[in-house]
């Protein structure tokens, strides 16, 4: 009696094909089981007992079953269970829950094998989804513009929101500046980290709300670390700053004009995760595991702030003294399409987009 073992990477169609071939070769084909993503198929040539097909099949099935179970016990348990996920992040405090989830094994407990990669630049990320990354960070204007340009991405999980009680972004002026509020900014020079990104969009919106023409100010792009010097030298009149840079500027004695994001709404969507639409539709389970992991990470952070700060220091590489003072962002991991509608209106009002987009198409629908 000949016994053949066929190993094949698990693919249902392929295995059925294989079963056909084995039949044609005269093997009695049974036992298709997958262990470690490989199909183990045991075939017997020549019957073991008189009734070729049925009995030999069931006996062979038993043997195959034993073989497969044995194989499963010898293989590392986790390898069969974890789904590999690739995510990008920006080394800013907003993305701390993902780092905590990775460091504390929360992702693994939820069945995800996550690889985190650092990047500095939001705008190139929509292009990498589906190729290099499954999850990437994004902000409302970024997503809206990408979708309108025909890029097939969708928001899948929330991250940070900006609220009145916990502002993380400030519009800052020098302590001796004559500017007291947004209405004094007419004709001034404002430093922004990225033109067209969420902070600057909200500043323009705030200006318009205060009756200033957004075109009357001159905006220049300044990376956050250069802002203190530029402000001190007087090259710029106001800077848009994020934690920890905002904290440093304020500690040096400069004044805050307030949080520009709150001009959009008292509780406004700030950062979230996006994925390729097709991938998102096919992988609801992964997305739900992702959201669950982030929620658990947040609970860990609330219970163990010191350890969370240590992880923060590790991923942002900021100096210890700075890390201790950074306030945590307000996190909310579920998404509501209405939060996006707000931003669509803001962008349209500023003339940055010409068409509207249905806010429901921007968020993935999880059952």
């Amino acid at each position: 009696m000949e016994v053949g073992f066929f190993f094949w990477p698990y693919n249902r169609a392929l295995v059925e094909n294989l079963a056909d071939r084995a039949d044609r070769c005269g093997y009695d084909m049974i036992g298709i089981a997958d262990t470690r993503k490989e199909a183990v198929c045991v075939g017997f040539k020549g019957g073991m007992v008189a009734q070729k097909s049925k009995l030999s099949r069931s006996l062979a099935g038993l043997i195959a079953g034993v073989v497969c179970i044995a194989a499963e016990f010898t293989a590392p348990v986790t390898a069969a269970k974890l789904t590999p996920v690739r995510a990008a992040y920006i080394p800013v405090v907003s993305w701390l829950p993902a780092w905590v989830a990775k460091e504390k094994g929360i992702f693994e407990a939820n069945g995800l094998d996550v690889t985190l990669s650092v990047t500095q630049n939001l705008s190139v990320l929509p292009a990498t989804l589906g190729r290099q990354f499954d999850f990437a960070p994004s902000t409302p204007p970024d997503l809206i513009k990408a979708v309108l340009a025909g890029i097939d991405v969708v928001a899948v999980a929330g991250q940070g929101i900006e609220t009145k009680d916990n502002p993380s972004t400030h519009l800052i002026v020098r302590k001796d500046s004559a500017i007291t509020g947004m209405q004094d900014l007419k004709g001034k020079v404002i430093a922004t980290p990225t033109l067209g990104a969420i902070i600057h969009v909200s500043v323009l919106h705030g200006l318009k709300k205060n009756g200033i023409d957004p075109n009357s100010i001159r905006a220049v792009e300044v990376p956050f670390p250069n802002m203190p010097d530029q402000l001190k030298a007087g090259n710029v009149d106001a800077v848009e700053a994020l934690e920890p840079f905002a904290g440093q500027l304020l500690a040096a004695g400069n004044r805050s004009l307030g949080d520009p994001l709150l001009s959009v709404s008292d509780e406004v969507l700030y950062t979230f995760w996006i994925s390729e639409s097709k991938w998102a539709t096919d992988n609801h389970a992964v997305i739900e595991a992702w959201i669950a992991s982030l929620n658990q990470a947040k609970q860990f952070m609330d219970a163990n702030p010191e350890e969370a700060r240590a992880i923060l220091a590790k991923y942002t590489k900021l100096p210890e003294a700075v890390v201790q003072k950074i306030p945590f962002v307000t996190y909310r991991f579920s998404l509501d399409p209405r939060d996006f509608a707000v931003w669509v209106n803001v962008l349209k009002d500023l003339g940055q987009i010409t068409r509207s987009v249905d806010e429901n198409s921007l968020v993935v629908k999880l059952k």
Partner: protein, 268 residues
């Protein structure tokens, strides 16, 4: 002997100096192939017909022409300054090789530092205006001119230097009558190489700081995911570079029309 007016001669020289238009054939073929292969809409690789629409959109919004003029002004000023400083320093280095050993490492050091690293320091001292842009552009564009000039100044034929000594020419006269004329073709070659460098660095500064110019438009379009605008602007830049180069080629042809032929020192 037929009498031809000077401007007719210049015109003939100019036409001879320009690269023939059929040289654009490879690119036209490439664009045509792209257009045929990619007729549908694509967010990242739109067909050339979309590029035209993108550009028209930009020009209608009134942002194209101010940006174009800002870039052109920076370019011209930067080129003139780079040529002046590059030639001066290059001659200095070539004529006094011992001095070149002294400042050599410092210059090499500055040459290697990439513009994106220079920009924050330049901004510190100069702020966010045209001066900063010019400084970075000149610092980057000097090198081809400087290197070509110093290389040629080193290689002035010893016979010519002997002539200078025979006539007991003063240092100034030697520079003016012997060294400079030998070196001018190399200077022009250096400027030729520096032309696209100037354009590239101007655009780079604009891309990285979003100071007014074509580069700022490009990065803005890229952030808004409007790749057709980006490609359209790239084509514009390419044609602009061709135009600038042609103007320079004409200038070079007219300047060098009576130049003595080059003598290489190594082979004699």
């Amino acid at each position: 002997m037929r009498y031809t007016r000077a401007w007719q001669q210049y015109l003939k020289l100019s036409v001879a100096a320009l690269p023939p238009a059929r040289g654009l054939l490879p690119l036209v073929v490439l664009l045509g192939a792209w257009q045929l292969l990619q007729s549908g809409k694509s967010p990242y690789f739109p067909p050339p017909s979309d590029w035209w629409n993108g550009l028209m959109l930009l020009s209608k919004s009134g942002r194209l022409y101010p940006a174009l003029s800002a870039t052109t002004i920076t370019l011209l000023l930067g080129l003139v300054l780079a040529a002046a400083v590059g030639t001066g320093v290059g001659l200095f280095i070539g004529v006094f090789p011992r001095l070149s050993r002294a400042i050599g490492p410092l210059l090499e050091f500055l040459r290697a530092i990439p513009p994106p690293a220079i920009i924050p320091v330049a901004i510190l001292f100069l702020g966010y205006d045209e001066r900063m842009k010019l400084t970075v552009v000149v610092l980057a564009a000097i090198w081809p001119i400087l290197l070509n000039t110093s290389s040629a100044a080193e290689r002035v034929h010893p016979l010519l230097l002997d002539v200078a000594r025979s006539f007991r020419l003063s240092a100034v006269d030697r520079m003016r009558l012997i060294i400079l004329p030998s070196v001018v073709p190399a200077i022009l070659l250096g400027i030729r190489v520096a032309l696209p460098v100037t354009i590239v660095v101007t655009l780079l500064v604009e891309i990285l700081t979003s100071i007014e110019g074509i580069g700022a438009l490009m990065i803005g379009a890229q952030r808004n995911f409007q790749s057709s605008q980006v490609y359209g602007l790239l084509v514009l830049i390419g044609l602009f570079g061709l135009l600038v180069n042609n103007i320079f080629a004409v200038f070079e042809a007219i300047l060098l029309r009576r130049w003595p032929p080059k003598i290489q020192s190594e082979n004699f």
